[in-house]
């Protein structure tokens, strides 16, 4: 089991530690629900050091990424701009979802999931060879996310002097860097905030300064309910190598506009699109009391039409919500089977919550 540099800090804060993707991580520090509300109403911080930063450098870095990723890094024209994309197999299955930052013409930076890091790196190395680009995991960097309506205000004064003004001026999905620090206005909660990369040796001190400034430590539990409310996919639950982005609510991240761009998986996606009958990826709300869980089955009348890919209880809405994949011809009046009973669910379009506000009718 790997440990992040903040492991002892979490324990000192009273965290309950659990295994996650090969890492020992905090699930909560007492109350997952209170941590969730802290991010919706004020500011919370997350240890995301288990995720892997990968630098991609070389003259052909851009053509490499245009071949590697389903989204098109050609959109990234300003240094610091970030792009969310899937990395696909030839058959369109999702190897991982990731963020790519444009640093300069010959340097891009990627952030990949913890549990997929080894296979991602192997895939990157294999695909990079013909392009002659360098793939370098940055194990020397840690990462902290600070999220919530007051997150930026509380974080800026604690940044290195040189980054304060530029960090304050960032637009969403943009980053600024200085040396080994990178501050990005991105996140996985549906709230404003930053994701910050910094040298490992500075992580504990920076974390403690944020806590001191009134930012609440939040575990993976709150991270999951926040991202679910925000309608953001979780790799391994909502999509994996057995499905394409087109059936995972991620069609918006697949850029087919440049017909000459031959990215890995393109042919498979175009064939799937041409064949039609794509399964639908949707949000669900449980009408009554209970909790929706991963893998619960969905029914249209007596016919099983799909299942929940990630479900849970929404602390903001006080209701059970889920993401689900269903047959193309499934109706709108579905039921979910919980412990042998069929309960009505309503189909809704995610997100469920953004910037502290409900986006669906209850």
């Amino acid at each position: 089991m790997q440990k992040t540099i903040l492991n002892q800090t979490h324990r000192d804060l009273g965290a309950r530690m659990v295994p996650f993707g090969g890492w020992e991580m905090p699930i909560h520090y007492g109350s997952q629900i209170e941590e969730h509300h802290a991010v919706r109403n004020d500011a919370g911080l997350f240890d995301v050091c288990h995720m892997t930063v990968v630098d991609i450098r070389g003259e052909r870095a851009k053509p490499f990424l245009r071949h590697l990723l389903a989204n098109d890094v050609d959109k990234l024209t300003q240094p610091g701009k970030a792009l969310y994309s899937c990395m696909l197999r030839e058959d369109g299955g999702v190897i991982d979802d990731l963020i790519t930052y444009f640093m300069d013409e010959q340097w891009y930076r990627m952030v990949v999931n913890a549990a997929t890091t080894e296979k991602d790196l192997a895939w990157l190395e294999k695909q990079a060879a013909p392009f002659g680009v360098e793939i370098r995991p940055r194990r020397d960097l840690g990462m902290i996310a600070v999220q919530g309506p007051n997150a930026r205000e509380k974080t800026v004064p604690l940044l290195p002097q040189s980054l304060r003004a530029p960090a304050e001026a960032l637009s969403p999905f943009q980053a600024v860097s200085d040396g080994d620090w990178l501050v990005a206005r991105t996140g996985y909660t549906g709230e404003d905030g930053f994701e910050i990369m910094l040298p490992n040796e500075g992580v504990v001190g920076f974390w403690k300064a944020l806590v001191e400034a009134g930012v609440r430590p939040c575990g993976l539990g709150a991270r999951d309910t926040l991202r679910l409310e925000a309608g953001m996919n979780l790799y391994g639950s909502d999509m994996d190598e057995s499905v394409t982005p087109l059936e995972s609510g991620l069609g918006w991240t697949v850029d087919l506009r440049d017909r000459g761009r031959d990215f890995i998986g393109r042919q498979a996606l175009e064939a799937q699109q041409a064949a039609g009958h794509l399964r639908r990826f949707t949000g669900l709300v449980l009408e009554g009391k209970g909790v929706l869980r991963n893998h619960l089955k969905l029914f249209d009348g007596e016919r099983e039409v799909g299942g929940i890919t990630s479900g849970g209880f929404s602390p903001t809405l006080g209701r059970a919500i889920a993401l689900a994949r269903i047959a193309p011809d499934a109706g709108e009046a579905l039921t979910v089977e919980i412990r042998g009973r069929r309960l009505p669910v309503r189909l809704v379009k995610p997100p469920f919550v953004r910037h502290g506000k409900a986006c669906i009718d209850l």
Partner: protein, 130 residues
């Protein structure tokens, strides 16, 4: 370390049972169980009148993290359920030994002696954590 009152009986599946007299026993989940589960958001109560065997699944508590079955500690009939938990499952997190989930009319009060006392339960929890 979680709280384990001396005057209750316990199961290895983390239920507590309190003798209410007249052959009635109140059943809830332990402090250790609520700590493991985290914030509770839903309780599925048994139906009054249900006959239960010792070890039968009879209720469910769900936290933000997971669903967990509650097992009947003894043979008996459900005579009362704690309806207030339907709207405030979090009350169990706040006071696990005050919030009973259901009450049983015991088929055989002697079965209470088969359950663990506080010291035995504390040892079981200790063993589970190592």
């Amino acid at each position: 370390m979680s709280e384990i009152p001396d005057d209750l009986k316990y199961t290895s599946t983390h239920e507590w049972a309190r003798d209410e007299g007249d052959g009635i026993v109140a059943v809830g989940i332990t402090d250790h169980a609520q700590e493991l589960l985290g914030d509770l958001v839903y309780v599925e109560l048994p139906e009054v009148g249900t006959d239960l065997g010792a070890g039968a699944e009879c209720a469910v508590v769900e936290s933000v993290k997971a669903a967990s079955d509650i097992y009947s500690p003894l043979d008996g009939e459900v005579v009362e359920v704690n309806e207030t938990l339907a709207d405030s499952p979090e009350a169990i997190n706040e006071a696990p030994y005050e919030q009973w989930i259901f009450k049983l009319k015991m088929a055989d009060p002697a079965q209470l002696d088969n359950l663990m006392d506080a010291a035995a339960y504390a040892a079981a929890v200790e063993a589970e954590e190592h």
